[in-house]
Assembly symmetry: C2
Homo-oligomer: 344 residues x 2
DNA sequence: CTCACAGCTGCAAGCGCTTCCAAGCTACAC
DNA sequence: GTGTAGCTTGGAAGCGCTTGCAGCTGTGAG
């Protein structure tokens, strides 16, 4: 394999000049640059990544820690991150830490402390303040998406606010008998939604003077299948059925719609359903939802990091609320006329 | 940040011994090893990734090239790859090259030639024989999943074989009026299934003496939504409907089931549907399918690579057929009695 | 008791770049 | 004509490890 030395010889330049010419840093005359580049091209030479990183201290590599790359939200974020990073000439080192705490720690040591990445994007990951300080101390900017990272920069949606808006949408349509499907405890751990969506729902209901029936607060694992099972219970067992369901994710909303159909309930005539996410399948089911654009969140995280990395400004820990978009489709409507309002 | 030198001093050993102790290579007395390790632990020292890589030539990093990380098959493969790689102490550099050819080339140069990865796993990626030779020439093992990589090691399922089996399943149930939903040309490019599934279908039909109606050969983009749209056309427009649909993926099978339901067709009473994949949603829809276990394929690819990397045997280009599993559920049954068999 | 051998250890030469520093040059103002 | 500022350029010192080589020690065989 040719080295920079070979390029220098061929181009009739010094190693230093070739390095500057190829990396684009420092002043090089147009003539030298061109010579260096064509010599490199002729030899099929490319700068060695590790040597460059070792000498310069920059990696052009960002670590991405996710609890899953298979579930909708996470794979969407990763797509956004990946595209933005690739455009900027950065590598993306993926850490899919589904196994739990133990692994998460080895990740921290093993790739952050070994300084193989310039920065890290943590999706729905919970780090202690101490861990974050450790990262920041060794000058590794970190931005979190969707998880509480005390002391670090984060991007997230206003969970309780949009939940409240979703519930209010149903209330304004005239619903009072509204069920809420929230995330399983186990899954909440990954998604780090510590009941904030449920909080928004409760608040909207209370503000409207509606009762939240305990048996209408159900949970599922954020999947269509899981929600389907929960929704069957919800819709099948109640002597009085809710007239609307607010699901904490689109996949759960879809599971609910499928369950409703199985019971012969028409959506939205007999049952209104609303979700949160902006899932691709939403359109097919006419699902009213709140689009949170995870790809955009990923892209924003990257831009935030790169700004801090390339500029020299120490990006202060900023908490950005990512804007969401209310998408009204056909799964929500006024409640059926024969449904008695629920009295507190 | 502490360096290996600091550890050596603290442990009262030479740098060389500490290096051997921490990396586990070479002979070190138990006593020295222990000293080195505790000194490192006390200082919070971790070997520098780039320095190690530069000096040793090994990266402990595998590049994964995928056309998408969002679609079911790919994210499943990535999960399998990721878990296996992490267990082995390797990093995973993700290259999500959805943008097409141009980017793919820059990827090759920029990360393979810069030798930042020890090996590459290419999922559904088409490389020319020349490109593969280039990789192998610089000693970068490459294994492909699901794509034809002439000269490289590959793992794939027997597409035409399982398609034939799927079609035969329907035929044996008594169906003759069978439609096939195949992948869009645009998506076939990503999945690299050059009609092999369709080929298997055609063969089974011909072997059984059944006619393949051109209007019953439809295509979609491998998504539920896309398949739904295609299935509506298929099921709505034909004066004579097929009694069974064989979809080239589970997602398309599910889209077909949803469309059938919209037309009031019962599955399997009025319409049998079979897919290929082993998608998590299959169970919910009672979908008969052929499970291809993409996670397992990813894990196998990693094991194959590591065997070649850690052992010194030059892994010959091996073409492994990954085993699939026929999963019979409730979406397939005998055709309705009133359906006249189709005569060639 | 001596020798051969194997296991340990340390020295030092890299791995292949980046970048500080100083020197050479050009151009322009005075 | 001289001085100076601003570009360019090359030399060389690292970046922080790994590893070949050689010396050293201890052990068992002869």
């Amino acid at each position: 394999m040719p080295g920079i030395k070979d390029v220098a010889e061929r181009a009739g330049l010094s190693i230093a000049t070739v390095s500057r010419a190829l990396s684009g840093k420092g002043n090089v005359s147009a003539r030298s640059r061109e010579r260096a580049q064509s010599a490199a091209a002729e030899l099929g030479f490319v700068l060695s990544y590790h040597a460059s990183s070792l000498a310069s201290g920059r990696n052009h590599n960002v670590g991405v820690v996710v609890p899953s790359v298979h579930r909708w939200f996470f794979s969407s974020v990763v797509e956004g991150v990946s595209a933005t990073l690739l455009d900027a000439g950065y590598d993306l080192t993926l850490y899919n830490v589904s196994e739990g705490e133990e692994r998460r720690h080895s990740v921290l040591n093993d790739f952050l402390l070994r300084k193989r990445v310039d920065a890290v994007i943590a999706v729905s990951l919970e780090l202690s303040e101490a861990e974050i300080q450790q990262l920041l101390a060794i000058h590794r900017p970190i931005v979190g998406i969707g998880g509480p990272l005390p002391g670090a920069s984060t991007i997230r949606i206003n969970d309780s606010g949009i939940a409240e808006a979703a519930a209010r949408h149903l209330i304004q349509l005239g619903h009072s008998r509204i069920a809420h499907m929230t995330g399983d405890a186990a899954y909440e751990k990954d998604f780090r939604l510590p009941g904030t969506r449920q909080g928004g729902f409760t608040k909207a209901m209370r503000d409207a003077g509606h009762t939240v029936r305990p048996e209408w607060l159900v949970s599922a694992d954020f999947t269509i299948q899981g929600a389907y099972a929960s929704a069957r219970q919800l819709l099948g067992s109640s002597p009085e059925r809710p007239t609307a369901v607010f699901a904490a994710s689109d996949e759960m909303a879809i599971g609910t719609i499928l369950a409703a159909r199985d019971f012969g309930l028409r959506v939205p005539d007999d049952l209104s359903v609303i979700g949160i996410d902006g899932h691709e399948l939403g359109e097919l089911f006419g699902l009213t939802t709140i689009d949170q654009d995870p790809r955009g969140q990923g892209a924003m995280a990257v831009r935030r990091l790169l700004a801090g990395l390339e500029g020299d400004a120490d990006t202060a820990a900023a908490d950005t609320e990512y804007p969401t978009r209310f998408v009204i489709r056909s799964s929500t409507a006024v409640p059926p006329v024969d449904a008695a309002p629920l009295r507190g």
